[in-house]
């Protein structure tokens, strides 16, 4: 009986590994599957049925996600090729500043990043804030700025309808050092200003004090209206905290599976959102 259950568990884990690697969900995930196999097959007999059922549940969840991905791919195809016109024309006035968070490992595929920015340029987005935790995109700053700085760009590589001309784009490059570390630097600025001289009045700091201190450090860009996350999970990975108070955050999936139609859909959905800002 024990032998049969172990056999079943290893078949399920092998199938899970196949699904994950086949779909290309990232190099790291095959490692955690192997960890599972190591940990669980050698686990105690009385837990093995529960572990088996846990893997079955997650297998079912994975199949549901795969089915969702297939539907999204079909939807994107229909939108990109004009069969579905619900999301056009786009009211881009509401998206004054688009933020994009990219997982640092995925950001190393600079051609994928360039293709994404090509699409955004074709849609008409003018100002983009690019964030990746480790600053990989900062290293490609010159390449990207130069490519998107001319007003009319050639469309040979683009699969987008050639009558669209790409828009000139402005970029801001942000990484983890512009997040919490920047607030610490601003805190030091405020400390120097008010606490070094023993006699000055020490005010209770407000949001305005923090904003001014950050402006002194060179942080002058506005808050993004909409934030796209390209990565395995819906997590903003340390994007500067004070800049996403009311930002709509949308998870777009892994960068290499980006879809033009879904970008249109996400922007369109954002233009329909009504915010109360708490009141």
């Amino acid at each position: 009986m024990r032998y049969n259950i172990n056999d079943l568990l290893s078949s399920i884990l092998a199938f899970e590994l196949f699904l994950r690697s086949g779909y290309g969900c990232g190099r790291g995930f095959s490692e955690d599957i192997l960890q599972d196999i190591d940990g669980k097959i050698c686990g105690q007999n009385d837990n093995i049925v529960f572990i088996l059922l846990w893997h079955v549940i997650h297998l079912i969840v994975r199949v549901i996600y795969l089915a969702q991905e297939v539907l999204r791919a079909i939807e994107s195809y229909l939108v990109t090729n004009g069969f579905v016109t619900t999301y056009q024309p786009l009211n881009l006035n509401r998206v004054k500043y688009l933020g994009i968070v990219i997982d640092s490992d995925e950001a190393r595929q600079i051609s994928e990043v360039i293709q994404l920015l090509d699409w955004l340029s074709a849609i008409g987005v003018k100002k983009v804030c690019l964030y990746d935790r480790e600053g990989v995109l900062k290293k490609s700053k010159e390449v990207l700025v130069e490519r998107f700085s001319s007003a009319k760009l050639s469309n040979e590589d683009s699969k987008i309808d050639p009558i669209f001309t790409k828009t000139q784009m402005q970029f801001e490059f942000v990484s983890i050092s512009d997040g919490k570390e920047a607030v610490a630097k601003a805190a030091n600025l405020l400390f120097n200003k008010y606490y070094l001289d023993g006699d000055t009045e020490k005010p209770f700091f407000t949001e305005a004090d923090l904003s001014n201190a950050l402006k002194t450090l060179g942080v002058v860009e506005p808050d993004p209206d909409l934030l796209f996350i390209y990565g395995p999970a819906r997590c903003h990975l340390g994007f500067p905290a004070w800049r996403i108070r009311y930002t709509e955050i949308v998870h777009m999936g892994p960068l290499k599976h980006k879809k033009y139609g879904l970008i249109l859909k996400a922007i369109h959905k954002y233009t329909k959102v009504k915010q109360n800002y708490g009141s």
């Binding site: 790291g28 995930f29 837990n47 601003a186 400390f191 955050i249």
Partner: protein, 287 residues
């Protein structure tokens, strides 16, 4: 009368079956990683009331019942810290009668909670009210402080209720507290005769305050960062909640309005967390 007794029995039987099935599912799910801390933005009470054509304020009452269920499921599955966004500093901009209504509900529920202290202490729940409590009405603030004091010794599970809270208030306040602490240290240095005139050495000035100092003084510095941040009613923004603490946190936005939230949303949230667990742990280690 005769007809009521069988349905009472059937009701209890079904309830028992329901509870057993739930506990079984939670046991299967515990074979994988269970989040230590889940945070909830309780959004959608007013929309719920409008949807079901209820009187104003009934949405908040329904929301409270949903909160109790969600807390029960979280603690049953093994979550140690639960944070809820009960009232934002921005919510003070609402109509005064609505603000007063929410304050009255909070007061009523905290007083009700204080009456059940024995049971609460038996379960080991520690309650913390997070935010600028001075902005609350006097009776609510007093009741909140009493509740915090009464449960201070509990350590099994934690319930953090964010009232009069926004990250935009929390972060500058943490800077202020850190400055106060550091200036106290500078004064102490001064008294030891190492520096003159209360001025800290210029070389030391640049790095006086570090990120860890700020995190120590955050309202939420008493608990670990959340693993999942759930916002009900399908909205995808954080609305000034736990912005600093959500660096490596999975964001989940179920479409259900807050009073409709329950068992399946908690289960699905935890399953999503388990799917992303290794990726998020890798990101935490890289920090």
């Amino acid at each position: 009368m005769e007809g009521e007794r069988p349905s009472g029995v059937i009701g209890r039987l079904l309830g028992g079956v329901n509870r057993t099935m739930r506990r079984l599912l939670f046991t299967f799910m515990s074979s994988g990683p269970i989040p230590q801390h889940i945070a909830f933005i309780m959004d959608g009470n007013r929309r719920f009331a409008k949807k079901w054509k209820l009187e104003e304020g009934a949405g908040h009452k329904a929301g409270f019942l949903a909160l109790m269920s969600v807390l029960k499921y979280c603690y049953e599955v093994g979550v140690k810290y639960v944070t809820v966004y009960a009232f934002s500093l921005d919510n003070f901009n609402r109509r005064p009668d609505e603000v007063q209504y929410v304050m009255d509900i909070m007061h009523e529920k905290i007083e009700g909670f204080l009456k059940e202290l024995d049971m609460v202490n038996r379960y080991g729940v520690r309650v913390l009210f997070i935010g600028d409590l001075n902005r609350l009405d006097e009776p609510v603030r007093v009741a909140a402080e009493k509740a915090m004091e009464a449960t201070a010794k509990n350590t099994k599970t934690y319930l953090l209720v964010c009232v009069a809270y926004t990250s935009s208030h929390e972060i500058p306040r943490a800077i202020y507290e850190a400055c106060q602490e550091k200036s106290g240290l500078a004064l102490a240095l001064n008294q030891n005769g190492n520096n003159i005139d209360g001025i800290v050495n210029v070389e030391d000035v640049n790095d006086v305050i570090k990120v860890v100092d700020l995190e120590k003084h955050m309202y939420m510095g008493v608990v670990p960062d959340p693993d999942i941040l759930v916002r009900s009613s399908g909205e995808t923004r954080l609305s000034n909640f736990l912005l600093w603490q959500s660096t490596n946190c999975l964001l989940y936005s179920p479409k259900a309005l807050w009073p409709e939230m329950g068992f399946w949303q908690v289960v699905w949230g935890i399953l999503k967390y388990q799917r992303s667990y290794y990726y998020l742990e890798k990101k935490k280690k890289q920090a």
